[in-house]
Symmetry: C2
Subunit: 148 residues, 2 copies
DNA sequence: AAGCATAATGAAAACGACTTTCATAACGAA
DNA sequence: TTCGTTATGAAAGTCGTTTTCATTATGCTT
């Protein structure tokens, strides 16, 4: 639990500010997100929250709603799909992602300023960017030098 | 046409080095890729190469084959899908991508060295990274201050 | 030029992650 | 408690991409 104490309160505030409603499922999903020690897929989140198979659609809808409030960040995977992470609305960062087990580490290195400046010079507006690093984490190294 | 003259030759060399074969369709696809002034989707490439609808699968297979030889770079889009670009095998760069018309500009700014170093420190191997900037290009700006 | 192993193609279906539709249920402000 | 709005559930749909498997083409070897 490496979260600030008021985090949950602020989240609920953020949600109630808009037209969103806090339902039992959303509470469970929020709880599961808070309890996660790493970004998760929608299906993994559903399972963590103890929701049935069929609630995957609710998970997606909830994540979308939370994303609109700025408390969910989406981490694209290399091939397809993405992971979701609970964040403070303006906490900009990227990730190291294990392409095997999807363990992620925070990456606080970013060229955001330069990227946006260059993009603006090219005439782009409404700029955002993607930066993720993929690899195999320590636990997922292929067994080396063995009989294999 | 901003390609080096020997580019096509080198590509064909690279292809023949492996078990790949040069077929008429692959030649057409290669020609279309060379003629493109920007990265394209698989479907757009098929159309540019004058191949029928049903050849989309051939396009994907060809792109995969070419990617294996290192002459194709894949540019992920924000939502889903990706664009393909013909590149020299070791030409590392990223892109500015218009999320509306998919026009792209080259981005030669990268933190590759630092990213990989940090990732290695964390115990990651087989590292690669994704970095793309998305926005609306000049031509795709929403009409401002007009009657709308 | 034939033969032949291997690679490429075509049609069709499968895939996976998500999104939509539409009817029903639940929320929460009044 | 009423009521307008939002959330949910079931089921099907979407989109880009991949797989399967039978058929055809390529290009190295004679």
């Amino acid at each position: 639990m490496k979260r600030a104490k008021g985090f949950l309160q602020r989240i609920i505030q953020a949600i109630k500010r808009g037209p969103l409603r806090m339902t039992r499922k959303r509470e469970r999903l929020l709880g599961a997100l808070l309890a996660m020690d790493r970004p998760v897929s929608a299906a993994a989140l559903r399972d963590k929250a103890g929701l049935p198979e069929s609630d995957l659609v609710t998970v997606y809808r909830t994540l979308e709603a939370f994303e609109g409030v700025g408390i969910i960040q989406r981490i694209p995977l290399e091939e397809s799909g993405c992971l979701f992470e609970l964040t403070e609305p303006d906490d900009h960062h990227h990730h190291f992602v294990c392409r095997e087990c999807h363990r992620t580490e925070r990456l606080d290195l970013c060229l955001a300023i330069e990227l946006e400046e260059q993009a603006r010079k090219l005439g782009f507006t409404q700029i955002n960017h993607l930066m993720e690093v993929y690899g195999l984490c320590e636990d997922c190294q292929p067994a080396a030098a063995s009989g294999d």
